[in-house]
Subunit: 147 residues, 4 copies
């Protein structure tokens, strides 16, 4: 079940580059740091567009990071044969993130024929590296089209 | 309980303009169409930045519209005395929206001293006006700081 | 789209009686009050088993009412040809309900070939009838097996 | 932050026994197996009342296990000084559990002054012990009364 993913990091990044050019709109917003069995790690590069007053990362930016992250973990695992579509995403905002990059650790909870469910735990970069305590946590469901 | 809101539409728009200038980054993204007792209506102006391949409105853009919408309904009802913070948002994507504006109908389910809960139902503009069937539905919880 | 449901109230109740006898375990816990196009109304009969200390209706009992209610609305609409399975349910507890019956108003937001999404708004019976303000609100997603 | 919990396993069980006698209604339904820093493990003892046709554990029973489990982890950590109340619970049902006990691994994501957020991952007992793949996953938010 925890088989190796079908796509490499380079293949995933090339796919995103081609299919989701808006992820780079005005600079590199999100990068995939690694993919593994039923898992992935992504980074949100902090950027003025994601900021609210007070200099923190916005909710929609964290939503986007979690959503793209779970999508990437599914994509890497099953390959680019079918485009998964988000059907549900539940996000909890836990702490106000400082100004800086945000890291998303993705873990797939289920990868079925029709539905996949994954979880994203987001950590903020502080002055001494990434904090131990998450700034946000999301669980998303994705519909996988019939192949 | 369904008292009149404390802020008018013009006051809400002026507050957003001052506090969330990024909602206008690169043009008018979101506008508030009306506020009422425990309710509000907002419009997402379709724009290239929100589009995925295929020309549809992106998930993060709909998340942002729902999130801002519930925030606005709370703000209008209680006034700008305290800044509510999103603690949880659950969104279901129901149909692929066509390219066009998206309307969010907001209704507050609870407005307590410490927590508020609201629901957002999103409708897409089709060739013959807004569709009857929602494209997305969200429920969000907001923490209200002690006053 | 808002076609009449395929099952009548009596047919739905007979189906539940046969397939979910535990809904009557130790007495009548839940009854279906009406079914309509993309909608249903159910009643939770208050009963000691659902109570927490303080005499209020328990969270799991309200979860069960919302879950059964959305299931019933789907069942009535598409008929007993396929058994829908809950894949996700998000519930917000809004107010502490008094001791008494709870009414669930169900509305389907989407009824697709593979997924259905419905919302349940729960109202508690007070001394002067059902309150205007909901005690809980849930949104659930159901997977519909291939037919 | 990951300080030792304020209550021992025995203290938590005695508290639940006194405050939630319905958890034992008709026999022992749920037991707490361990508590630790920001964590807990609970077991649902399979029992006819939790079964649906087909002999699987019901959704409401898994909801209850997740809800009680996160409550227990908060209780153990902060002590019985304040009664937390569930405000939101989002549950994903991932696989149909076999007939047997269900184990819930609880981890607190946030323990603030006013809100706590925890996650519950549920595993089913199969013929050869507990499966690696979860049957359900829940995230819940609890409001902590002012002390």
């Amino acid at each position: 079940m925890r088989a190796d993913p079908k796509m490499s990091l380079a293949e995933v990044e090339a796919f995103l580059e081609a299919e989701f050019p808006q992820l780079r709109h005005g600079g590199r917003m999100v990068s995939v740091e690694s993919v593994g069995p039923m898992s992935a790690r992504l980074r949100l590069h902090s950027d003025e567009r994601h900021l609210r007053p007070g200099g923190t990362v916005s909710g929609p930016a964290m939503f986007m990071l979690a959503d793209v992250g779970i999508y990437v973990a599914i994509l890497a695992q099953i390959g680019p044969v079918a485009l998964a579509v988000t059907t549900n995403l539940n996000i909890n905002f836990l702490r106000k993130p400082p100004h800086g990059d945000v890291l998303a650790e993705i873990s797939l909870l289920k990868l079925g024929k029709r539905l996949a469910v994954g979880e994203a735990t987001l950590f903020a970069q502080g002055p001494d590296g990434f904090d131990d305590e998450p700034v946000a946590h999301a669980v998303g469901t994705y519909s996988i089209p019939p192949r």
